[in-house]
Amino acid sequence: MNSRLIVLGSKLAFRSSPRMFTTSAARLSTSKDEGFPDPLDLATGIEKKEMLLRLAGNDDPYNLKSIKRGVGTKETPNEIPSAFEARIVGCVCEEDSSHVKWMWLHSGEPKRCFCGHWFKLVYKEALV
């Protein structure tokens, strides 16, 4: 009897706390040996967004890779994606140069870099 009371009490105590260490990460697992949860179901937050973007065919979800320059005239500037007001852009003006010419590119102000190519900031939805 006593032990049953203790079990009941502990059940109540554990249920009332918002999130225990032993919380299951997948609540709706029905059968016993269904295997581990599906990666996409398990993932949340930025991890899930990255996975979805990759599944959609975007292999650079964080815009970390360098952008290959297009025509870059004043009428058709190179479009630089950013979720913020400004982004730092650098041009490698001579092919073999190890020196990158950096500049700030603000939204709404197309700008020309040291060797004459035009850039424009384009708004992109932030990941989180």
């Binding site: 919380t23 299951s24 990460a25 990666p39 398990l42 949340t44 991890e47 964080y62 979720a83 990941l127």
Partner: protein
């Protein structure tokens, strides 16, 4: 809330690093107090604090990774590299024990009468319990690899069976090691032989305990479905650590047990 458009996870403010640092320092002071004044209350309190802080800190990491999804694929790479660095630093810790042993055994000092093992040390037979321990650890390494295989194949039942087997083998190893320590005819204070032997094998035993706890936490997380077949970095790191302990044991067995006789 701040917009985030980069892969790196900026940590939230956390009390654990500073508390852990203070308690580690206090643990050192209290261990010195045990050695000098036989005053062990402070050390017990500090051990309790360190264990609770570790639990809370790792609980936070689990929340950040599994429940908030902050450990994306870039962060996973960084964590793997930090584990590699940690294991390399552990290797150098053990290299120092091996260096100490070889330095003292290859050219024994005149205080030992130029003998190795020193006179009247009855070393145990390396083909009895130590060989069994080697087999146990190698088997547990094999079962942890099988666990990984079944985890990658998304078979939960087999994963948990082999994980349990690994933990049972590691506990069996620890029990045998304790038995051997109890039976040994020499102690820590029996010349440089006893000191270097118990220092190295004792530190290895401590690492086995840590690795076992690491595996147990992972077993718990598997049963609570924290892992998927592409995101199970915690288990992967525990398996690396387990293989590291296994390799260290092989070297320990070759030098401290086998070659020593």
């Amino acid at each position: 809330m701040m917009k985030i458009n980069q892969p790196y996870f900026i940590l939230n403010l956390s009390p654990w690093p500073i508390l852990m640092a203070l308690n580690t320092f206090n643990l050192m002071i209290s261990n010195i107090m045990i050695m000098n004044f036989k005053f062990n209350m402070m050390s017990l309190m500090n051990m309790f604090m360190i264990i609770s802080i570790s639990i809370l800190w790792w609980r936070d990491v689990i929340r950040e990774s599994t429940f908030q999804g902050n450990h994306n694929f870039y962060i996973m790479n960084l964590i793997k590299f930090s584990m590699i660095l940690f294991i390399i630093s552990e290797m150098f810790l053990f290299i120092s024990f091996f260096w100490n042993f070889l330095h003292n055994s290859l050219a024994p000092s005149i205080e030992l009468g130029l003998n190795w093992p020193p006179k009247n040390i009855n070393f145990f037979n390396p083909l009895l319990i130590p060989l069994l321990n080697t087999i146990i650890l190698l088997t547990s390494s094999f079962t942890v690899t099988l666990t990984h295989l079944y985890l990658l194949n998304n078979s939960k039942k087999k994963t948990i069976i082999f994980m349990n087997l690994t933990i049972i083998l590691s506990i069996y190893f620890l029990m045998l090691q304790m038995l051997e320590y109890n039976q040994a005819t020499f102690t820590f204070s029996d010349s440089i032989f006893g000191s270097s032997f118990y220092m190295a094998t004792g530190f290895h035993g401590l690492h086995v305990i840590i690795g076992t706890i690491f595996l147990m936490i992972n077993l718990l997380r598997m049963m609570k479905l924290h892992f998927s077949f592409i995101h199970h970095i915690s288990f992967e790191l525990a398996a690396w650590y387990w293989h590291f302990i296994d390799i260290i044991w092989l070297f320990l067995y070759m030098t401290f047990y086998w070659w020593n006789n």
